[in-house]
Amino acid sequence: MTTGPQATPVGAASAATVAMVPPARRSPGLWALAWARLRRDRVAMLSLAIAALFIAVMLASRLGLVAANWDEEIAVSYASPAFLPDAENLEAARSAGIPRPDAGPPVDISDIDPLAPHYGEWAERSAALEQVEGSRRTTLPFGADKWGHDVLLKTIKGSEVSITVGLVAALLATLFGTLLGALAGYWGGRVDDVLEWFYNVFTSIPYILLILSFAAVLSQGLVTIILILGLTGWTGIYRLVRAEYVKHSAREYVRAAQAIGVTDLSRMFAHILPNASHVVLVQFSQHFVQFIKAEVILSFLGLGVPVTMVSWGTMLAEAQEELIIGKWWQLTAAGVSMAVLVTAISLLADAMRDALDPKIR
């Protein structure tokens, strides 16, 4: 087992001996070079644009700019998508088949009705109320669900939960993994032993069991699912970040920083972290994708978001029953939007890994 440098405080570091060289033209840094490489990759730029679009729509929905009225029942049940003009509609077809009863003259029961004196008053009051003929639409751009909600708006609203969970959980897992990995890799020794033990404990339980165990004891909700994914998903990042720290903490630039009296904290996060950040960034995007998929499955099983919220997972759960009666649009909307986002981020992560890899020039 490799150990990092033991922290020995260097007291008398004389900065005076450092020759003052006027800074020459700055050579482009790692990030500038990586960005330049990424710019040339057309697939990566397209993926970036798609991911940005999804996140922009998600933010707009979160701020209430779009899809705020997704739960209005604006169409008939299972209204067809607009691009299917002659697709028959369940409710329309059913109501068309039922003959209307003949509307004869109403039976006059005023001579036996004790409420008869109020008839005039009622007629007056009902006339005073404005009546509007409500009409429900029979088609919508992407159809409607069982209750007549617009599937397009519902998908946008669902992206809010799915992307938020993926993003925040990935941030949490990355934060945990990076922090613990940095501690273990930098300090080595006892700290490393303890954290390795922690890592072994978490990885010896099959991942899905770990998630389900957490789900069993925590109450249901958006925060819970983020916590579950974040608390169980840090192990992969920890492993990689730890390896980077073990490698870097023995390097000369870190030794040099130590020699001029830079604190441990600053060496860990100001000096080594930027050099390990490409690993963190790629891992973050891969976990983002993984957690979006996980949220969909957990919500489907009823372990994720509560039933009052809509996510791509709950949409797929509804879609399973709809498919049997031939209503495929909700399944397609949720499935395709998730697939597009996941593909875009996966491709972007691949491109970023290539762009940030100094060996490929």
Binding site: S204, L316, G335
Partner: protein, 312 residues
């Protein structure tokens, strides 16, 4: 070698202690008072108090921990809180259906993935290679849920090639009638990521010096691929399969839920939904133990697969 195995077994102990501690903290502390969980199922307060005494929750925490440790090593987790079935019996009866699905999946998936990976590595850099990579990326981005829902609807309901769901007591009927569709689905979905992974393992080997030597001495490309590259790439491939092995017993819980297969995966999802802690605890601890043993076994097997590895 026996000294190595003994030392590795010794190293497992702290990890096992950690797993037991983690599960204990989750279910006895974070999970709250089991009596409250049970309160929804039982209403009589005297009965709840009785249950608390029976479960040992009225004891201080170290006694509870000791009870839990005893449970782990005597294979006696008591009875399920919901069905009153013995937990050990639940584990034993649910493992069969899970393995009926998962063993064929593992065999088919690995064989197909290795074969296809060799073929793709053989045509590396061509349009076919790129096309297959794009197809696998797209295939991997679609949720497993969507695959299951669509396949069950299409092959089970619309076309009627397979039963939509079901299970019997006869192993042969299960394997030939009810298992094929879930197996097919799991193989198809698992193929894409494995194919990509194995391709990268093969490509790592292709750039090695010994491959150039083999080519230089005039071996045909097919022989280089199958004899030299594949045999060396088998080491990471086997590692990957070993990592996958413990998951075999959990099975694909989604498939089990959808196809009503009475396996361990479905049991766990059910147990989570009805807060049946003993079942989840037992499965988690035993599968963690199994994982550790499999990892040890793999490390020992390396010695035979790769002569460069020595027991330190």
């Amino acid at each position: 070698m026996s000294a190595y195995i003994l030392r590795r077994l010794w190293q497992i102990l702290p990890t096992l202690a950690g797993v037991i501690l983690l599960v204990f903290i989750l279910f006895n502390w974070v999970g709250g008072d089991p009596a409250l969980v049970l309160a929804g199922k039982v209403t009589d307060p005297a009965q709840i108090e009785n249950i608390r005494r029976q479960l040992g929750v009225d004891q201080p925490w170290w006694v509870q921990l000791w009870i839990f440790v005893q449970q782990v090593f005597t294979f006696d987790f008591g009875r399920s809180w919901s069905t009153n079935e013995e937990v050990s019996r639940i584990l034993l009866t649910r493992i069969g259906p899970t393995l009926t699905i998962m063993v064929p999946v593992l065999v088919l998936e690995t064989t197909l993935a290795v074969l296809l990976a060799v073929l793709v590595a053989y045509v590396r850099g061509t349009v076919t290679d790129r096309a297959i990579m794009i197809i696998t990326t797209a295939a991997m981005s679609i949720s497993f849920l969507v695959y299951i829902i669509v396949a069950q609807w299409l092959f089970g309901f619309q076309l009627g090639w397979f039963p939509v769901q079901g299970w019997t007591n006869s192993f042969l009927t299960n394997l030939t009638v009810y298992a094929p569709l879930p197996i097919l689905l799991a193989v198809l979905v698992g193929l894409a990521p494995q194919l990509r992974l194995y391709r990268s393992f093969l490509l790592d080997e292709i750039n090695q010096d010994y491959v150039r030597t083999a080519r230089a001495k005039g071996l045909p490309e097919r022989r280089v691929m199958l004899k030299h590259v594949l045999r060396n790439a088998m080491i990471p491939i086997l590692t990957n399969i070993a990592i996958y092995l413990p998951g075999l017993f959990v099975g694909s819980f989604l498939l089990e839920v959808f196809f009503a297969i009475p396996g361990l995966g479905r049991e766990i999802v059910g147990a989570v939904n009805r807060s049946d802690f003993p079942v989840i605890k037992a499965v988690t601890v035993y599968l963690a133990m199994l994982t550790m043993l499999v990892n040890l076994l793999v490390d020992v097997l390396y010695r035979f697969v790769d002569p460069r590895v020595s027991f330190k």
